[in-house]
C-alpha cells in the first residue's frame, strides 16, 4: 500500500513583480494620493504584507470623478465601433497576461490558483469580449428608443472575485458609453491596479477608467459625490441598504448586487452523485465566499441519510491549503475579520443545537483558514439557516413535498440564486417557476457566463449584470 500524496505543485510567482507601493489611477496616470495615507494589502494565506495602496480621501475622489467627467467628453464622441475595439483590445491583453493576474489574485485574495487560473481569468476576458460586441449594437439590444448612458458611474466591488467583479462592472459600463470611477475592495486592491496597466497598454483615452483604492469611507465618498450619475455596488445587503439610503432623493441611478442564502433543493429522484458534486461546488467554491453560494441544502427526507453520508465522504477529499498549490481545492479565508465572522456563526450554530461535521484535513500555520463544515439537524429558525455566512459552511434542512421545498427555499429575505436537482423535467420547471431567485441552477450550480444575466430578487438587490439584460443596468430610460 502506498502513502498516496499529491505533490505541492506550486504555481510560480516569478512572473509577477509586486510593487512596494501603488498609486491611484486617475486621468490615465498613476497619481499618489493627496491624502498621503496608505493601507496595507496582505496575503491571507501567509499574513505577509504584499504592498500598500492609497487610502483615498475626498480630494482624491474629486479628482477621479472630475477626470471621469472629462473622460466622458472624449468617450462619448468616439464612434460605437471605436469603443467596441478598445474593449476587444482590453480583452485580448487580459488573455495575454492572464497567468500574471491569476497568481496575483490568488496571492492577494487567497483563492486557489486552480480557480483563479481556470475560472476567474477566463471569465474576465470573456466578459470584455462579450460586452465589446455590444458597444456598437446598442440600438439592436432592446426594442425601445429611450435608452441613454448615465454618464459617470461609481462602482464599488467586493473582495471575493476582485478582478471578475471589476470586469462585470467596467465592461458593460464602457460598452454602453459611460465612464467609471471604480473602487476595489480594501483587502483585494492589487489586480484592479494591475488592470490599470492594461488600460494604459490598450491606449484607452484618459479618464474613461479611474481606479481609486481605500476602505469603506472611500466608498462612501464616491456614493455621496454630487457629480456621480450612477452607482453600481456589489457587496453585503447591509451596506447596499446604506447606499440606497444615501442616494434617497437624488437623481442617481443605482444597481445593487447583494447577499444571498441560496437553497439547493435535492429531490429524491435526483442523480445523487452529481447532486453531491453540485452541492460541494455550490458551497465550497471560492471558500464559500460567493454571494450566490448554495448555503442551504434542502434534502428530501427520504434521501437525507444516504445523501449526508455521501456528502461527508466527498468533503473528506477536499484539500485546504496554499492557494498557489494546483492541488488545493479550498484556499485561505479572505481576512481575519471574515474568519472571525464565520467562526462566531458556526459557534452559534452549535449552541443552537445543530450537529456539526468538519473534515479532518490539516490546516497551515499562518494565515486564515476554515475547515469545510456541514451542519445537519438544523431548524429553519437557527441563525446558520438564515444569515449569510460567506464561508465554507453548509446548513442542511429537510422537506417532504415539492410545495414544502419551495416554501422553505423562499422563506428568506434574499433572492439571489437557487438550485434544483431532479431528473424529472416537469418538476424542474415547476420548481424553477416558483423560486424567488434571479438565477436558478437546475442539475448544476455556480455556473457563470458573460451572456447570462445575474442578479437578485428581494433584498438581494436590483438590476442584472451580464447578458443583454446587463446592458440595462447602464442605460437610463429617459421619459
Amino acid at each position: 500500500m502506498i502513502d498516496w500524496q499529491y505533490s505541492e505543485s506550486i504555481e510560480s510567482s516569478d512572473i509577477l513583480s509586486i510593487k512596494k507601493k501603488y498609486s491611484n489611477y486617475i486621468g490615465g496616470k498613476f497619481v499618489e494620493p493627496k491624502s498621503k495615507k496608505y493601507i496595507n494589502s496582505i496575503s491571507p494565506s501567509t499574513e505577509e504584507v504584499l504592498s500598500k495602496v492609497p487610502l483615498s480621501n475626498k480630494q482624491d475622489i474629486n479628482s477621479a470623478v472630475n477626470s471621469a467627467r472629462e473622460g466622458l467628453e472624449v468617450w462619448s464622441k468616439l464612434t460605437p465601433n471605436q469603443r467596441s475595439r478598445y474593449l476587444f483590445k482590453i480583452a485580448r491583453l487580459i488573455q495575454e497576461r492572464s497567468r500574471e493576474f491569476a497568481v496575483l489574485e490568488s496571492l492577494d485574495g487567497g483563492k486557489p490558483i486552480r480557480e483563479s487560473r481556470d475560472f476567474d481569468l477566463p471569465q474576465v476576458a470573456a466578459n470584455f469580449f462579450y460586452f465589446a460586441g455590444w458597444a456598437d449594437k446598442l440600438d439592436l439590444s432592446w426594442a425601445t428608443k429611450s435608452l441613454k448612458p448615465y454618464g459617470v458611474v461609481g462602482q464599488i466591488i467586493p473582495w471575493n472575485f476582485p478582478l471578475l467583479m471589476l470586469a462585470w462592472k467596467i465592461a458593460p459600463a464602457l460598452a454602453t458609453g459611460n465612464t467609471v470611477v471604480l473602487k476595489p475592495a480594501e483587502t483585494t486592491p492589487l489586480t484592479a491596479l494591475l488592470f490599470a496597466e492594461i488600460c494604459e497598454q490598450a491606449g484607452l483615452p484618459s479618464g474613461v477608467v479611474n481606479i481609486v483604492t481605500g476602505d469603506g469611507s472611500t466608498g462612501s465618498l464616491i456614493v455621496n459625490h454630487k457629480d456621480i450619475n450612477k452607482i453600481a455596488f456589489t457587496g453585503s445587503t447591509q451596506v447596499g441598504k446604506l447606499i440606497q439610503k444615501s442616494l434617497a432623493g437624488r437623481d442617481v441611478g443605482l444597481t445593487l448586487e447583494l447577499g444571498g442564502k441560496a437553497a439547493n433543493i435535492v429531490y429524491e429522484d435526483a442523480a445523487i452523485d452529481q447532486a453531491v458534486e453540485g452541492v460541494v461546488n455550490g458551497i465550497f467554491f471560492n471558500q464559500g465566499h460567493v454571494c450566490c453560494a448554495g448555503s442551504r441544502l434542502l434534502l428530501q427526507e427520504s434521501i437525507h441519510d444516504q445523501f449526508v453520508k455521501k456528502l461527508e465522504k466527498r468533503m473528506q477529499s477536499l484539500r485546504v491549503g496554499n492557494p498557489l498549490d494546483k492541488n488545493t481545492d479550498i484556499g485561505a479565508i479572505n481576512s481575519k475579520e471574515q474568519l472571525d465572522k464565520i467562526t462566531s456563526l458556526v459557534n452559534e450554530g452549535v449552541e443552537d443545537g445543530g450537529e456539526l461535521f468538519q473534515t479532518q484535513c490539516e490546516l497551515p500555520g499562518n494565515g486564515f483558514w476554515f475547515r469545510p463544515t456541514l451542519f445537519t439537524n438544523v431548524q429553519p429558525s437557527y441563525s446558520i439557516a438564515r444569515e449569510e455566512i460567506f464561508g465554507p459552511v453548509l446548513t442542511t434542512l429537510t422537506f417532504r413535498t415539492p410545495e414544502e421545498a419551495v416554501e422553505i427555499a423562499n422563506n428568506t429575505e434574499y433572492g439571489l440564486s437557487a438550485g434544483v436537482w431532479t431528473e424529472k423535467g416537469s418538476k424542474i420547471l415547476w420548481t424553477a417557476d416558483r423560486l424567488e431567485a434571479g438565477v436558478v441552477w437546475a442539475n448544476t450550480f455556480n455556473k457563470f457566463d458573460p451572456s447570462s444575466p445575474f442578479g437578485g430578487y428581494k433584498e438581494s438587490g436590483f438590476g442584472r449584470e451580464g447578458g443583454r439584460h446587463g446592458l440595462l443596468s447602464y442605460l437610463k430610460a429617459s421619459s
Binding site: 502506498i2 498516496w4 500524496q5 505533490s7 486552480r114 442523480a271 448544476t444
Partner: protein, 312 residues
C-alpha cells in the same frame, strides 16, 4: 433460461431491479467532475510507487487468432519479470489469454505470483447459445484458469431483457465457483452512462467479483468517465451489501500518465482500499511498456527508448 440456482453472492432479482431503476446520471455533471479529477498531480516519490503499482495491477493480454505457444511464452516471461534489469519492478497481476491457451500459460507461470486469466463466454461478442458459453468457461477452468473474464449479453441488455443478462452471469458464476469472475460490460456498446450503471449493478448483483470496462476489441475502450460510473456503482453496491467488488479498465489506456489519472480517481473516490491488484486492474498490452519507460526515466532522469525493454 429455466433452472438457475441462486448462489450465495447473487442478489435477489427484485432488489436488483430496484437498484437498476434508480440509475440516474447527469452526464454533464459527471464529465465536469472527471475532468476536475484529472488536474491533480502527485509527488515524485509517490509517482514511482504509483508506477510500480500500475505494473502490479496489469493484466498483460494477448487475444489474437495468431497467438501461439511461442507468443504466450514470451508474454509470460515478461509478466513475471517486466524489467529483467530492475528487480524492484514487480510482476504483473495476470496474463490474459483465450481458453485454448490457458494450459500453456499455466505451465509457463509456474510458481510465480502471476495468475492466468481466460476470456470466455465467446469473447468478445458473446453471441452464442448459453450452453456454449458455459462450456467455454468450464473448459478454461478445467485447463487451470485462475480468473475468468466474460462478456455480458449486450443483445439482451439493449433489448431491455435485463433479467436474461443477470441470469446468464449467475449461471456462469455457478460454473466459476471460487474462480475470480470478471464481467466485461463493453461500455462502447452501451453508450450512455445510465446503461453503464445498470449493467454494472446487474453484473455485481449476479455475483461478479470484478466489473470490467471493455474487451479491447472495439475502437471505444475504457474511459475515465465510464470508470467513474462503474466505481460509483461498486461503492453503492458495497453500501447495500457490504461486498467489495473490483474494477478492471481495459482498452485505450496507452500511457502511464493516463493510468495515474485512473489511480487518482480511484484514490479520491474509493479510497486506498481499492489501490490494490485484488480490487483494481488494468487490461493492457502497450501500457506496460510506457510505465516501464517512466520508471526508468524517474530513476535515471533520461527519457527511454522501447528497445531497452523485452517484447511481451
Amino acid at each position: 433460461m429455466g433452472n438457475i440456482k441462486t448462489s450465495d453472492v447473487s442478489i435477489e432479482w427484485s432488489s436488483v431491479l430496484e437498484m437498476v431503476h434508480e440509475s440516474r446520471i447527469d452526464s454533464v455533471g459527471l464529465n465536469e467532475r472527471v475532468s476536475s479529477l484529472a488536474t491533480r498531480s502527485i509527488k515524485k516519490d509517490s509517482k514511482l510507487e504509483a508506477l510500480n503499482m500500475i505494473v502490479s495491477m496489469c493484466d498483460l493480454t494477448t487475444l489474437e487468432g495468431e497467438d501461439t505457444e511461442g507468443k504466450i511464452s514470451q508474454m509470460v516471461a515478461k509478466a513475471i519479470k517486466p524489467n529483467p534489469l530492475d528487480n524492484s519492478v514487480p510482476s504483473v497481476a495476470a496474463v490474459c489469454v483465450y481458453p485454448s491457451l490457458v494450459g500453456i500459460a499455466k505451465e509457463k507461470v509456474q510458481n510465480s505470483n502471476v495468475k492466468v486469466a481466460a476470456v470466455s463466454s465467446y469473447f468478445p461478442s458473446g453471441q452464442v447459445p448459453m450452453e456454449s458459453k458455459l462450456l467455454d468457461t468450464k473448459y478454461a477452468i478445467d485447463s487451470g484458469a485462475d480468473e475468468i473474464d466474460i462478456v455480458i449479453n449486450r443483445k439482451a441488455f439493449l433489448e431491455g431483457d435485463y433479467r436474461k443478462v443477470y441470469d446468464e452471469i449467475v449461471a456462469l458464476k455457478e460454473v466459476c465457483q471460487d474462480v475470480h469472475l470478471k464481467t466485461i460490460l463493453e461500455v462502447g456498446d452501451l453508450k450512455t452512462y445510465e446503461n453503464i450503471r445498470k449493467a454494472s449493478l446487474i453484473s455485481l448483483a449476479a455475483g461478479s467479483d470484478f466489473i470490467k470496462t471493455s474487451t479491447g476489441k472495439l475502437s471505444v475502450g475504457s474511459s475515465r468517465q465510464a470508470c467513474y460510473v462503474m466505481l460509483k456503482s461498486v461503492l453503492d453496491f458495497e453500501s447495500e451489501t457490504g461486498i467489495k467488488a473490483g474494477i478492471k479498465v481495459a482498452g485505450g489506456i496507452r500511457d502511464a500518465k493516463d493510468a495515474i489519472r485512473y489511480l487518482v480517481m480511484i484514490n479520491e473516490e474509493m479510497g486506498s482500499d481499492w489501490l490494490n491488484p485484488e480490487l483494481f486492474r488494468f487490461g493492457a498490452s502497450s501500457l506496460l511498456d510506457d510505465v516501464l519507460k517512466q520508471i526508468k526515466k524517474l530513476k535515471t532522469g533520461a527519457y527511454q527508448a522501447g528497445y531497452y525493454f523485452p517484447r511481451g
